[in-house]
Symmetry: C2
Subunit: 164 residues, 2 copies
DNA sequence: TATTGTTATACTCTATAACTATA
DNA sequence: TATAGTTATAGAGTATAACAATA
């Protein structure tokens, strides 16, 4: 890594006051190519954009999908439990649930056992909608497979299994 | 505390319906486990947190590091060129550069060839600082290696090479 | 005292639009 | 007309702090 050949040759081409370089096709990333985080971030942005586009007609974003899926699979969870499981701030989840409740996909049920907390459930409408969202999300997942290859996607899931 | 917590959770598990579940250890992710995007997003958050922590003393975040690295390796780039190469909005880059210029790490040099644009350069101070940032970033990268394994990290970089 | 849900604030980041000065 | 840089705004998302009701 250190000072690279790209850096040296680039200096020859552009001194102070010279014309700025704006040809994107020979701009080196230098040390960034050795950072997993850079590639992971770019990939994550691509994935989210595809997800948002694929579920655009139903207006569901990745975070909303994850909340609905976890509530659907675990009816009666408290807000704290959902927030912890998905790594969402509980203050942020309040607004997410406000939106999902306004759309009649989720309901907060006041708990009698612990009157501070709410038990979260999908509405019947929410159950039907989630089934559709899952079909669209599976379509998105096929896009991922087409993009990086079936075997690479499987390897990726295996490598990152500990981060779920 | 443990006895009380155990009793409480036992009561909640036994409760029929209204009592919210809040034990995080048996909450299933359902369809999320099959989505590459979910794992990738969680991993990316972990990586950025480690990066921010590891470079906390020098107060450099991932995006700032990527901008400095690309300018360092390609002196004289225009703002548009940097923005396009790194996938940053040009409006956002303005503020990033304002901050880096205030810290005397980067300078905007007015171009004589095209007086609309600026050629970007590291200051001598910026060169020295970037060398330090790169050492810390390499340390961060070793954390990634420890977290997922050397071979897995290499596979990840190979799989995602197209997203740089 | 501690926790749940809530409200509020601030800062990062993304996505636009519009403005200026140049080309 | 189009482009580079700038300014502004709006919406996500993250990170905190504080508060009321309840445990």
């Amino acid at each position: 890594m250190t000072a690279t050949a790209a850096q040296t040759s680039a200096r020859k081409r552009a001194g102070n006051g010279a014309a700025p370089r704006d040809m994107a096709d020979d701009i080196g990333l230098d040390a960034l190519v050795g950072h997993a985080g850079y590639a992971v971030r770019r990939f994550q942005i691509w994935i989210f954009q595809d997800f948002i586009r694929t579920l655009g007609n139903v207006d569901i974003r990745p975070t909303q999908y994850s909340v609905l899926t976890v509530i659907g699979a675990n009816p009666g969870l408290s807000q704290m439990a959902v927030a912890k499981r998905l790594g969402i701030e509980r203050a942020r989840l309040v607004h997410l649930l406000d939106s999902l409740e306004q759309r009649k996909l989720v309901k907060r049920v006041k708990s009698k056992a612990d009157r501070r907390s709410h038990a979260l459930h999908l509405t019947p409408q929410g159950e039907t909608a989630l089934a559709k969202f899952k079909r669209l999300a599976a379509e998105h997942e096929r896009h991922v497979e087409e993009k990086i290859g079936k075997e690479n996607r499987a390897q990726l899931l295996r490598i990152l299994a500990g981060f779920t």
